[in-house]
């Protein structure tokens, strides 16, 4: 049966670890920093590195997110929908293809 296996059409993934490309969704209030874009690409192996990379292309955004090296109180960041405050904060590891969502903290739920 192995003889009949067709050759793969796509070449296998490179062994070298590529840059971690992730999509970062930007809340309305921060879009002046991204030229109005709702989502931008960034690279980095940790959330901290992703934010540094964002700052390179969108100056001033880091200061809106961080204060004294910590996420600001009313800024929530989610990697693949999970709040990073419970996954290692700024050290949260990022993998290729992850989605990072930045949102202001709001009152919610069926209160």
């Amino acid at each position: 049966m192995t003889a009949a296996t067709p050759l793969p059409i796509q070449s296998p993934k490179p062994k070298v670890k590529p840059d971690m490309a992730v999509e970062v969704r930007i809340p309305t209030i921060l879009r002046p920093h991204t030229g109005g874009e709702r989502a931008v690409q960034a690279d980095g192996a940790t959330l901290s590195a992703v934010i540094d990379d964002l700052e390179k292309n969108h100056e001033g955004i880091k200061e809106r997110l961080l204060e004294n090296g910590q996420l600001r109180r009313f800024v929530n960041v989610y990697v693949n929908d999970e709040d990073v405050r419970f996954t290692g904060g700024l050290d949260t590891e990022i993998s290729d293809g992850d989605t990072v969502v930045i949102l202001p903290a709001v009152a919610g739920g069926a209160a």
Binding site: P104, A105, V106, A110
Partner: protein
């Protein structure tokens, strides 16, 4: 079961297994049916607890007017209790909540003041705080900061679950006022600290977040992050998909916020399966779907439902 009055019947809700959605005999899901409370939501517990506490400490006396910011459910619960005990109730509710909630509040005797849709519940809280300042004789129970809200779950919801399912490993609840998770979280930290506490928070559309300045966000005063272990943000698409699975596979007709909670519960179940661990995951059915039929979440395709929920406070 016999009770002296309706409010005496709050709590002691069923815990039911989900044989079809549970991945295996070792990883099981259990639904705590809070829609079986007198007004059909988990909020009956918090409302009754807050009123009893305010009566006990003397801040609520006969003839008082109660003021509360609510997206509907807590208001409905408060209205049911307040009317029977002779209090007037004024609710501040965002205008982008479902029409059923408004009608029910009015039926149970509450007066409704609308707050602007933009900003969602934050705005309702802001308006209510201003009204409380202008009317110092009104009593704002303030579910977002009232310890009696969380206590209702410390004394009721959590011990009921532990009694019914001593092998519980995870509790998954919705994050709004944070009362459920804080009360249940504190109970398990005290009585069975290996239980993981998981929060599912609804993620709304642009309208709700649009005008928020990052410096003036809102974190409920009750919230203590040390009482939970992980927190998921769930958008309307996943919430609707799950709420439909719940009715398709288990016959449970739940509100949209429960879909978000189930989504987080299933994520925990998948993790447990992957790591080969046993898990008994309890999640909250916060209310039934009846109050949300007009949102359009229960008919047509998922795409259509998602589109209809844009701009609504669906949980």
């Amino acid at each position: 079961m016999r009770f002296d009055s309706l409010v005496d019947s709050v709590g002691h809700t069923p815990l039911v297994g989900l044989p079809n959605l549970s991945p295996s005999d070792d990883v099981r899901l259990w639904a705590k049916l809070e829609d079986r409370n007198p007004t059909g939501s988990i909020k009956d517990r918090a409302a009754l607890s807050m009123i009893l506490a305010a009566e006990a400490d003397g801040s609520l006396t006969p003839g008082c007017t109660i003021l509360e910011p609510t997206s509907g459910n807590t208001g409905i619960s408060l209205a049911m209790v307040a009317r029977q005990r002779g209090y007037r109730l004024i609710c501040v509710m965002p205008e982008n909540t479902s029409t059923e909630r408004r009608q029910l509040l009015t039926m149970w005797g509450a007066e409704v003041i609308s707050s602007p849709a933009a900003g969602g519940s934050n705005e309702a809280v802001r308006v209510a705080k201003r009204l409380a300042e202008e009317n110092p004789d009104w009593v704002m129970l303030y579910q977002y900061g009232n310890r009696a809200n969380a206590d209702a779950h410390y004394r009721g919801t959590a011990p009921e679950i532990l009694e019914d399912l001593p092998s519980i490993t995870h509790f998954v609840g919705g994050l709004g006022t944070t009362g459920t998770l804080m009360g249940v979280g504190r109970f398990f930290r005290d009585h069975k600290p290996d239980v993981r506490i998981v929060a599912a928070e609804p993620r709304y559309g642009e309208l709700v977040y649009g005008l928020r300045n990052l410096d003036e966000g809102f974190v409920p005063e009750l919230y203590d992050a040390s009482l939970i272990d992980s927190r998921f943000s769930v958008g309307p698409r996943d919430a609707v998909r799950r709420v439909r699975e719940l009715i398709d596979h288990e016959g449970i007709f739940a509100g949209i916020s429960t879909g978000a909670i189930l989504h987080a519960a299933l994520a925990q179940a998948a993790k447990a399966v992957k790591s080969g661990e046993r898990a008994d995951i309890v999640f909250v059915v916060a209310d039934g779907g009846w109050k949300y039929l007009s949102t359009g979440a229960y008919e047509g395709t998922i795409d259509e439902a998602e589109e209809r929920l844009e701009g609504q406070l669906w949980a």
